[in-house]
């Protein structure tokens, strides 16, 4: 079993493009996305290989259990694969894919109508500077946010996106993201009795 860090500031999901060697050629994400768009299945596979940890992290952040997270990953990869030809600009592959992933995660939550419990998950997690009780409180508080606010918190604090990147990803104005973030932070403070 491999342990990965949840917090990975921009080197993962949006990340500075990793590159690959394929058939002696050196390909970056944009080139791979362009090839995938033209029907190169291997290129699509490489893109997923590059992003698999980040993909899983985001999915897991929504549902907090392995089975549901894998279902979301599966659905997002499938949807991206069958629609990659429709991607308008390979430059935005990562943004485009993350949007699919978030939609799949939110749909999954809506479909199952169940609040994933963080509690059992925290049991197995490594330490760090935050106590386990504190983690449980934070997890529960994040869980109680609505899907839109939760998405912003996950992307910003667990995945390290900037506000501008989140706005781009969610296709909404920067001001809206800031407002939602403030609202989410206020909610969290109230729930954690910091006001």
């Amino acid at each position: 079993m491999v342990l990965i860090k949840l917090f990975c500031p921009l080197t993962g999901l949006m990340g500075k493009d990793r590159s690959y060697s394929k058939g002696g050629l050196h390909l970056d994400t944009k080139e791979l996305a362009w090839k995938a768009q033209k029907g190169d299945h291997e290129a699509f596979g490489l893109l997923m290989e590059n992003r698999k940890e980040a993909i899983y992290r985001v999915a897991y952040s929504y549902v907090k259990n392995r089975e549901d997270a894998l279902d979301i990953v599966s659905e997002a990869v499938y949807k991206a694969f069958v629609s990659v030809r429709k991607l308008k600009n390979p430059d935005y592959f990562n943004t485009w894919f993350t949007r699919i992933l978030i939609n799949c995660a939110i749909n999954h939550l809506n479909k199952n109508k169940k609040l994933a419990s963080f509690h059992h998950t925290v049991e197995g997690e490594a330490g760090g500077g935050v106590s386990r009780e504190e983690k449980i409180d934070l997890y529960s508080a994040i869980d109680s946010l609505d899907a839109g606010e939760k998405t912003i918190i996950i992307l910003m604090y667990l995945e390290g996106f900037t506000l501008r990147e989140i706005a781009e990803l969610l296709e909404c104005p920067l001001g809206t993201v800031k407002t939602r973030l403030n609202k989410a932070l206020i909610s969290l403070r109230v729930k954690l009795q910091e006001v």
Binding site: L3, M48, E53, R57, R66, V73, Y78, L192
Partner: protein, 306 residues
């Protein structure tokens, strides 16, 4: 709060499952299979379209209104999968063969010149079926729409969405059907249209060909309807109760402008008539809300809350 969240983010580790690669690999393989199926459907769709256009041209020669001619056209061989073009008796047409266990595998929309087509493809045990199961097509107004009742169809694996650039089709959606051996699909229209419905074989499908028609003037009517609800069992229950317990003759489900669903008990010529019927239903013990909505034949119905 912000710092606390940052520390929290940094401190959380999760285990990466060993079968993550396998899940991704299987998702890609599922995508490949789906794309192969889609390609095969597109080929069948195009073949069927050619046949329909050919038939339409023959009909346009002046014999399309003669039912005997239509009957004679049934079963013509060599017309790329078209078994027959259905003839409407008043507002109902029927086709297909009695079968069970089919699944709606895809609903594809295509535009060709002034005409648009929708192909409903049917699967049996995960593969394209040979012939469509028994089905009915009902024409309705307020708003203009076609309802496809597919018997022996137990599932919908297709991702059903409204076409984005259609001139005629407002929406394609399913209705809540409490009978698990059938499914219902609706094609609703933005404007007055003419359509032709054909039964397609190998692979099995139902092909709707839609073209423009002269706008018709419809009188204002009064609908007796439930509030709007999210798609779900309750909508189906209301429909069944109004039909079977209260003897409603024209009970149907509709989707409103906000994407929620409601049940209509009937359309009445005056508000008074609708209110009389409401009183009658309440006297009979109706225990859920019904209200009167004025409808003018426009191609959209309004959301109404409780």
């Amino acid at each position: 709060m912000s710092d606390r969240l940052k520390d929290f983010g940094k401190s959380v580790d999760i285990e990466l499952p060993e079968d993550l690669d396998g899940v991704i690999y299987r998702a890609i393989e599922r995508g490949k299979l789906d794309m192969r199926r889609k390609k095969s459907r597109v080929r069948a769709f195009k073949g069927a379209m050619c046949a329909v256009f050919l038939l339409a041209a023959v009909f346009a020669a002046g014999v399309n209104t003669v039912p005997a001619f239509a009957e004679a056209m049934e079963g013509i061989q060599g017309l790329a999968g078209i078994v027959r073009v259905l003839q409407f008796d008043r507002d109902r047409a029927a086709g297909g063969e009695l079968t069970d266990g089919q699944d709606i595998g895809a609903v594809d929309w295509e535009k060709g010149g002034e005409e648009e087509s929708i192909l409903v493809s049917l699967l049996a045990e995960g593969s394209p079926a040979g012939l469509p199961g028994s089905f009915e097509v009902l024409k309705e107004q307020y708003p203009g729409r076609l309802v496809l009742k597919l018997h022996g169809v137990r599932g919908i694996s297709a991702d059903i969405t409204a076409p984005e650039n259609s001139e005629y089709v407002e929406d394609i959606y399913r209705l809540v059907t409490l009978d698990d051996s059938s499914q219902r699909l609706v094609v609703s229209f933005k404007k007055a249209v003419d359509y032709q419905v054909a039964e397609v074989e190998d692979p099995a499908g139902i092909l709707l060909t839609i073209k423009p028609a002269a706008a018709e003037s419809l009188p204002e009517l009064f609908s007796l309807r439930t509030p709007s609800l999210e798609f779900g069992e309750q909508v189906g229950v209301w429909e069944e109760v109004l039909t079977w317990e209260y003897g409603g003759k024209d009970v149907r489900q509709l989707k409103d402008s906000q994407g929620t669903f409601f049940v209509e008990e009937g359309l009445y010529e005056s508000e008074g008539e609708a209110l009389d019927r409401l009183g009658e239903l309440q006297e009979m013990g109706l225990d859920f809300p019904l209200m009167v909505e004025k409808v003018d034949g426009l191609y959209s119905r309004e959301y109404m809350g409780q």
